[in-house]
């Protein structure tokens, strides 16, 4: 039973949870050491890039955001630690942290 939690919330039952935010360098650390850095799926137009309409390319990059239900890739900074920026894949439904990745590297243990 339990009418008040969605079945989808329990989709990953067999997997061990990461307890904390896993810095790809320092390992799992308390969230208070980190700073959120926004949506990591946004592509910033390259500096030298001259698209036909640079304004709308930048408007997309600055203002347009998805609001995904489920896994979401985001930037985090280990600001009180090693000062590395890295990517975190977080489930927006459960607040579960699925994986983290160094810049330019794939998520370790890609779940799907």
């Amino acid at each position: 039973m339990n009418l008040f939690s969605s079945p989808a919330a329990h989709a990953n039952e067999d997997r061990r949870l990461m307890l904390l935010i896993p810095c790809p360098y320092c390992g799992p650390r308390n969230q208070i050491e980190f700073t959120y850095g926004g949506d990591a799926t946004v592509r910033r137009p390259a500096m030298k890039e001259c698209p036909a309409d640079p304004v709308s390319a930048w408007v997309d990059a600055v203002y347009v955001r998805d609001n995904p239900c489920g896994p979401h890739d985001e930037w985090w900074l280990h600001g009180a630690g090693c000062r590395s920026w890295f990517m975190v894949r977080r489930d927006t439904r459960t607040h579960e942290i699925l994986a983290s990745a160094r810049i330019g590297e794939a998520f370790a243990g890609e779940p799907r």
């Binding site: 339990n2 009418l3 329990h10 904390l20 304004v55 408007v59 600055v62 810049i103």
Partner: protein
């Protein structure tokens, strides 16, 4: 009357340690080991409070954290604490407690008139009655009266005098609950080599009662418990926390627990906290929180003298207190038989055991024992009502067949309606619950998180099974942490054959007006639930909010399941379809002071001090907070007002010389081959032309084109630069740089580090600045040798008695004040020496220190913008008059979006200067209008961003953002503040009031 109900032997109380206490002003005596509740019962005091809504007399109902009734006001010195649970409050000598929610006394309470009118105050009464007329204003008026009449205890009005702290903890296995199950789990996990934390909310482990004669591993249970507890206590990798309640399971498998460190002491020690908030990170959690007994609802089931059956037994066995002389047990399960046997052994006369089950249904071994002990068992019967005035005196018992009720005299009713596993933290850990038909309660089913329920918390009520479950849970939890258990047999106890429970929630009342309470704390009756269902509040969460079922300090620990079972009955659906309300933290109330811990009062945030802070204090500085920094606002002299001090300081900079502590500025050093390229991309202006030994002002934009920060950057060597940021944006700019370098432009050869803490900095400004410095430094300062925007290093002569000798410094010829000025940076530990050296050298020239306020006056006079007031996140460089700085020949962050038409529109708010016409000050935060008399809405043309009295212009001046402002120079407008009732005529002009061509800073 001294402890008339105390048993001569037994229990954990220490009869050699009598403790004096008062309740409602009456002195009593208890013993060491008592709770306030057990000590009151020992003295025959049951009536401890009045109910929330109807002011009915209420007594002690439980022996634990689930207590709905016995909430008392506790006085401790000058401090008072409301809603303390008498059932968990450890007695200390001199305790002073009183009942709540009654006036003038708990025996004679005027509010009890509500009881007589209770048919007029059903569920939702307040909502229905006071929602008319339909404006919130009226509700607010009613609410004041209602709150006074209802409410729980009185909140303290003084600041909390106690100290609290946090403690982070890490372990492989956290065991919550130190009963037999938890002990078995902790022992197994520890033997597997795990780091273990065991939290027990009681003062000792294994406090829950077990059937008489119970043995574990062939030893009496109490000896086994003591042996395991002491084994755990000695184990180097086990932390055993008593008086510690795990109150919440949070994201990332963080468990919050509150340890009551000193509440049981008459005189808390001088050092250390009253409570300690544990933040525990465990790889796996074993939930051994046990189960909470529930009652059965019948008419007048709230009379004092009514207790949960297991609680009555706890008072007898644990505290050696008889809760009454003659008891009627009312049950639907076997547990009450063990309780009856224990009560009888404690000298309580068992008048009858009323069992809702038939003989055939109640054929367990405990029933047989009770029968053997000569107890009267009335089967297939219910207790339909209790009688008494402020205490139970008799009960009516009827068989279900409709035989006339039989009245039995008694002064104690012990009720058992079954057991509810304490699944709160399981549910918080996203655990799914399942309705168990055998227990008639909700039990854990599965959780995606590493939390393992065991024993009664898992619906396993038998000791032998619970021990096995605890043991297995301990091993499984240790394995999750990678610890493999050695072969170890689980602790064993003989199984006890029991008969199953037959669900019974509420007994129909003989009279319609009889009140049958489901939720004792919130006065929610069976009829209230029926009414709510009829009125459409059929979802359990709606029921809760409409009736207040399960709210309050106990959060319905004894009432929730009954309430939702009754709702299911009303709706004609199975109980699982109704579901439960959400179990939110905290499990039990937590003192608010524990959450901030050390971070309260002046220490809510840390404070940053510059290297010269002690000097500022010594010289009478008034301080202002700038972020976390304390900065000197001004240095008023004896008898001088702050305003006069600011004006004196600002004048001295323009006429002679002043010095200001600017250590708080953000400083970032950059090294690498590509620093100039980075700066080109960051700032609107050009940087590849900056020569070594020179600095330049720059403005940074956000991606959206708005001004983000400004400052100067200096080139110290071919590959080494120093960037300064504003004080408030120091951290933000550093993060911004790191983000860009690491994620966007990893190809750039640039390394950055914050050096804000490394350098103490001061600005020496005024026509005499060069003269002051010339006598101190070992380099040539002439305009030719060290011109405006020059950067260099030098050694500064320190005081002759300074053993460290000359101070190595970085010198910058830059000016914020608009005067001839130098910025001097020295390693932080020499900051004070440098400051004193400058002041000593400047004495002959009349140097004076100035604070942030005079610095503000000077920059307003010069029209320099500040990030925040002028660059408020909505302004472009062009709005601030710096459009010409935007280099057309290169890209920079934010530049693409500057092309949006709205950012170049003619009516943009642009930076202007305002001069007040007349002597009245320009009001703080004033808006600018053309006609102050015009009726609202009066079109707003702009607003004042910074304002001051300018001792150098000799007028009130301001900077403002004004629509199409640059075209309005010369106009006369009004600065108005409807809030302050002020309006001032102002003349618009350019933002720079002093030396617009900048000749002074180049002299």
């Amino acid at each position: 009357m001294t402890q008339r109900f105390r048993l001569p032997t037994g229990g954990i109380v220490d009869r050699t340690r009598p403790l004096a206490f008062t309740f409602d002003g009456v002195p009593y005596q208890g013993y060491g080991g008592d709770t306030l509740a057990s000590a009151l019962l020992a003295n025959g005091v049951h009536l401890v409070g009045r109910s929330f809504k109807y002011h009915r007399p209420r007594g002690i109902f439980s022996a634990g954290t689930e207590e709905p009734n016995a909430l008392v006001q506790l006085a401790r010195g000058a401090h008072t604490e409301p809603n303390a649970r008498a059932t968990t409050l450890e007695l200390y000598d001199g305790m002073t407690a009183s009942s709540q929610n009654c006036w003038p006394s708990v025996r004679h309470d005027i509010g009890a008139v509500n009881n007589a009118m209770s048919r007029l105050i059903p569920a939702g009464f307040y909502y229905k009655t006071f929602m008319w007329p339909p404006t919130p204003r009226w509700w607010l008026r009613y609410e004041q009266v209602i709150r006074r009449a209802a409410g729980m205890g009185r909140a303290a009005t003084q600041p909390d005098p106690d100290s609290y702290e946090h403690q982070y903890a890490h372990c492989d296995v956290l065991v919550i609950g130190g009963g037999t199950t938890g002990l078995a789990a902790a022992r197994a996990a520890a033997l597997a080599g795990a780091r273990v934390i065991l939290c027990e909310q009681n003062v000792d482990c294994g406090a829950a009662p077990l059937p008489a004669g119970t043995k574990i591993d062939q030893t009496p249970a109490s000896e086994w418990i003591a042996a395991v507890a002491s084994e755990l206590l000695r184990h180097p990798e086990v932390t055993l926390l008593v008086r510690t309640t795990a109150f919440g399971y949070y994201d990332g498998s963080l468990v919050g627990a509150i340890e009551r460190v000193t509440d049981h002491l008459a005189a808390p020690p001088a050092h250390g906290p009253r409570e300690r908030l544990w933040k525990i990170r465990a790889t796996a959690v074993v939930l051994a929180t046990g189960a909470i007994e529930r009652g059965i609802v019948y008419a007048n089931n709230d009379l004092p003298g009514t207790l949960l059956a297991s609680a009555a037994r706890t008072y007898v066995e644990r505290y050696a207190v008889r809760p009454g002389d003659r008891a009627v047990m009312f049950t639907n399960n076997d547990g009450a038989y063990a309780d009856a046997l224990a009560l009888q052994a404690g000298g309580v006369d068992i008048a009858a055991i009323v069992d809702a089950r038939t003989d055939a249904q109640s054929s367990g071994i405990l029933t047989a024992r009770a029968r053997d002990a000569g107890m009267v068992i009335v089967s297939a019967a219910t207790l339909i009502g209790a009688h008494g005035n402020r205490h139970v005196a008799a009960v009516d018992v009827a068989s279900r067949a409709g035989v006339p009720a039989q009245r039995i005299d008694c002064d104690l009713v012990c009720v058992s309606g079954g057991w509810n596993p304490a699944v709160h933290l399981y549910s918080q850990a996203r655990g799914k619950l399942r309705y168990d038909e055998v227990l008639a309660s909700f039990v854990p089913e599965s959780s995606p998180l590493p939390i393992i329920p065991a024993g009664a918390a898992n619906g396993c009520l038998g000791l032998s099974e619970a021990l096995a479950e605890g043991h297995a849970a301990g091993i499984a939890a240790a394995r999750q942490a990678g610890r493999i258990a050695a072969l170890l047999a689980p602790p064993r106890a003989d199984p006890l054959a029991t008969a199953p429970l037959q669900p019974l929630w509420a007994v129909p009342a003989a009279r319609k007006s009889a009140r049958r309470f489901v939720d004792l704390q919130n006065d929610v009756t069976v009829n209230d639930i029926a009414l709510a269902a009829r009125e459409g509040y059929q979802a359990v969460e709606h029921l809760k909010r409409y009736t207040t079922l399960g709210m309050g300090t106990d959060q319905g620990k004894t009432s929730n399941i009954i309430g939702l079972a009754l709702l299911a009955e009303q709706l004609g659906v199975p109980i699982p379809r109704v579901g439960t309300t959400t179990f939110r933290p905290p499990y039990t109330p937590v003192t608010l002071g524990a959450f901030p811990g050390h971070e309260s009062g002046a220490h809510v945030a840390p404070t940053r001090y510059s290297a010269m802070h002690a000097w500022h204090v010594e010289h009478g500085a008034r301080f202002v907070n700038a972020g976390l920094w304390k900065r000197p606002h001004s240095y008023p002299r004896a008898g001088e007002s702050e305003d006069d001090a600011v004006n004196r300081e600002a004048r001295s900079v323009r006429t002679t010389v002043g010095v200001v502590d600017v250590s708080t500025l953000g400083k970032i050093e950059l090294q690498g081959r590509d620093v100039a390229e980075l700066l080109n991309r960051l700032y609107i202006n050009r940087w590849d032309t900056l020569a070594i030994g020179r600095c330049r002002y720059g403005v940074m934009l956000r991606d959206d084109g708005m001004v983000m920060d400004d400052g100067t950057t200096s080139r110290l060597s071919d590959t080494h630069y120093l960037m300064t940021t504003t004080t408030v944006n120091a951290v933000k700019v550093m993060q911004h740089l790191e983000y860009l370098l690491q994620t966007q432009w990893p190809e750039l050869d640039v390394y950055a580090t914050s050096v804000t803490e490394q350098w103490a900095a001061m600005a020496l400004s005024g026509p005499k600045a060069r003269d002051v410095l010339a006598g101190l430094v070992d380099i040539e300062l002439s305009n030719a040798a060290f011109p405006f925007l020059a950067v260099g290093t030098c050694n500064v002569r320190a005081a002759s008695d300074d053993p460290a000798g000359a101070i190595p410094a970085r010198l910058f010829r830059m000016s914020y004040s608009g005067e001839l000025a130098y910025e001097i940076h020295v390693p932080c530990h020499r900051g004070l020496a440098m400051w004193e050296a400058v002041l000593a050298a400047g004495e002959a020239f009349g140097i004076m220190p100035y604070g942030t306020e005079a610095m503000g006056t000077l920059r307003i006079e010069k029209g320099h913008v500040v990030i925040g007031p002028e660059a408020d996140g909505r302004t472009t460089a062009d709005d601030l008059g710096m459009g010409k700085l935007v280099n057309a020949g290169k890209w920079c962050i934010g530049k693409p979006l500057l092309d949006r038409s709205a950012l170049t529109a003619a009516d943009r708010w642009q930076l202007v200067g305002l001069t007040a016409l007349g002597d009245a000050p320009i009001p703080r935060g004033a808006k600018i209008v053309a006609d102050p008399e015009r009726k609202a809405p009066n079109p707003m043309l702009g607003h004042v961003t910074s304002w001051c009295w300018s001792p150098n212009v000799d007028a009130w001046i301001a900077l403002a953002l004004l629509a199409n402002g640059r075209a309005r120079h010369g106009d006369t407008l009004w600065a108005v503040s409807p809030l302050a009732g002020a309006k001032v005529r102002v003349q618009v002009g350019p933002p720079c009031f002093i030396d617009p061509d900048g000749e002074r800073l180049r002299v």
